[in-house]
């Protein structure tokens, strides 16, 4: 799945932007947030950052050229073999890079495991944060203090082409620009899942083991497994809200543990997904103020589970999201198969 990198619109009346320089090369590993290229607006020079982890491919715009706003200039892919070379006009640069890439054996891996290995091996080649990466803003000390106290990033103002120096009065704009995307900009999908087999499974496990295995642990384990399959992530943190008060518990790689052994995470970890388990309540739907990219809501719907997946399209593509939902639903429907 290739993610498009476009020439951003930075000023009000801008038709084109000048691509000043590429900061990464064709085929380089990039991390989310890493600067990819420098573009010049009519006011200043700014860096465009990678929106996700992956490999930078299909660079089609050259340095020191004017590019129409909105035009695709490159892609980021998870696996190098996914580079959609056919979709974009090939620049001499891209073709050259592709030729080199094709020759390297590590890029010809075909199964997941090797791909995973590649991803892991590629990790060390990251640019350490250097001084120039911390873009210098012209801002009054007061504005800086206010922004820092609310944990807001001045880059947001710069990205929006807001004129510098920034002053205290710009806090309003900064706050507005920093608000996470509305849920309405997110996507969601809902499915109904038969829980008969699930309930049987649960009662059998509980009579077999000495410990009590709650449905929470099983569902946490299943969602973790599904995430792993869908996104190939290594370390999966799950924030699980359950109970009548929707109390939150953190689980870390629950699918890698024996069901009976699953315990809440000891340290604070970054949750990859949030599970909102409404089954102890009378609610079937709940959406709200949350930072999570992936939210799975489970509620009771007559004899079934209603499972809603809510996701940030920047975090998951639709294909991935549907795969995740499908996989999770399958596990619930046929729990025994998972143990094999």
């Amino acid at each position: 799945m290739a993610h498009e990198i476009i020439m951003p619109a930075l000023g009000m009346a801008q038709e084109t932007g000048r691509l000043v320089a590429w900061l990464k090369n064709e085929g380089d590993t990039v991390r989310k947030g890493e600067p990819l290229m420098e573009v010049e607006t009519d006011k200043s020079t700014m860096e465009v950052e990678a929106p996700k982890d992956g490999f930078l491919v299909n660079i089609t715009a050259l340095a020191n050229t004017d590019v129409p706003v909105g035009e695709v200039v490159a892609h980021i892919v998870e696996h190098l073999e996914d580079a959609p070379a056919k979709l974009v006009k090939a620049s001499p640069l891209a073709l050259e890079q592709e030729a080199i890439t094709a020759q390297e054996p590590q890029h010809q891996a075909s199964n997941q495991a090797d791909a995973d290995t590649n991803v892991r091996v590629a990790e060390p080649a990251i640019n350490p944060p250097t001084a120039h990466n911390k873009a210098k803003f012209l801002a009054s000390p007061k504005l800086r203090s206010l922004a820092a106290s609310e944990n807001l990033d001045l880059q947001v103002l710069r990205n929006a082409g807001h004129p510098e120096p920034f002053k205290a009065a710009d806090m309003t704009t900064l706050r507005q620009l920093s608000i996470r995307p509305n849920i309405s900009l997110r996507n969601n999908a809902t499915s109904l899942v038969d829980k008969t087999s699930f309930n049987i499974f649960l009662s059998e496990i509980n009579s077999a083991s000495q410990m009590t295995v709650s449905s929470e642990l099983v569902l946490a384990s299943f969602i973790s497994a599904s995430l792993r399959v869908t996104t190939n992530a290594d370390n999966i943190g799950i924030s699980y809200k359950s109970g009548p008060e929707l109390q939150s518990t953190m689980y870390y790689n629950p699918d890698k543990q024996q069901l009976a052994d699953i315990a809440p995470a000891e340290h604070d970890i970054l949750a990859m997904a949030e599970i909102c388990d409404l089954t102890s309540t009378d609610f079937i739907q709940l959406s709200g103020d949350t930072n999570s990219n992936i939210i799975v809501t489970i509620s009771n719907f007559t004899e079934q589970f209603m499972v809603t997946l809510d996701w940030d399209p920047n975090a998951l593509s639709q294909i991935e999201a549907l795969e995740l939902l499908r996989d999770f639903s399958t596990r619930i429907k046929s729990p025994l198969k998972q143990l094999l």
Binding site: K142, R144, S145, K167, A168
Partner: protein
Amino acid sequence: MREITFGAAVNEAIAEEMRLDERIIVLGEDVAEAGTPFKVLSGLVEEFGTQRIIDTPISEPGFTGIAVGAAMTGLRPIVDLMFGDFLFLIMDQLCNQAAKTHYMSGGKLNVPMVLRTNMGATRRSAAQHSQSLHALVAHIPGLKVAMPSSAYEAKGLMKTAIRDNNPVVIFEDKLMYNDKAEVPEEEYLINFGEAEILHTGSDITLVATSSMVQQAEIAAKTLAKQNISAEVIDPRTISPLDETTIINSVKKTSHAIVIDEGHQNYGITAEIAARISEKAFYYLDAPVQRFGAMDVPVPFSPALEDLTVPTAQQIHERAISVLEGKI
């Protein structure tokens, strides 16, 4: 409350203190019968006699040096330096001798003297009779500097100065001697190192000295009509300086202009602005402004002289520029 002139307030302060303490004498040119050209000391020689109100020859270093020696040996002299510009003549006696004696003697010798002089341009007195040189004095460790901005401060600060066991230089704006203000009949002193907030405000801080306080007040009133609330602060003494009041104010308003009649370069405005930048940095929403007199010798021509000194209107304009982010 009664209102008296600035000059009368100074006169009262000196007379009252001289009645309380026999050791106080006044030395200077034309201080006795003439009561000084500004008539501020009129009447003193009649009350205290020529032994204590002493007319000197035109020998500024001489009589300043004599005052230093007298102060070291039991008297409490007030030296009258007719024009602040003459400070340059007496710098050795003031800065090498008076300022340093207590320190150089390891605390064993004191110099309890007051140097009374003036400042302020726009009197058409030209370059050598119009300077405001208080920054030069404030720069020297061992000297205290007071700058009364009205008759009320003039009396209170003069009394404190006379009672202080250290050399104190008081700069009076020579154009203010006839300005009236409310001055209590009862005795009062104004402590050194205590600024006065004339006007509280929340949008911008105006720190002003001497006659600039009035100008800042007028500017503040104009700003108020535009719904801008300015806080006007009069430090009253620049050495010691009440930093705390100024800093707390700027922390509140995030904007500051410092107005003083000394030259802008290397002067009071620079010092106070630097301290604000040091101690209120993270609260500033605009650069701190210095607003001093132009860095030119004071011109004689009326068409030119008034251009060199900050006015209320200019202060007002500067404040607007600061708040609108134009600076």
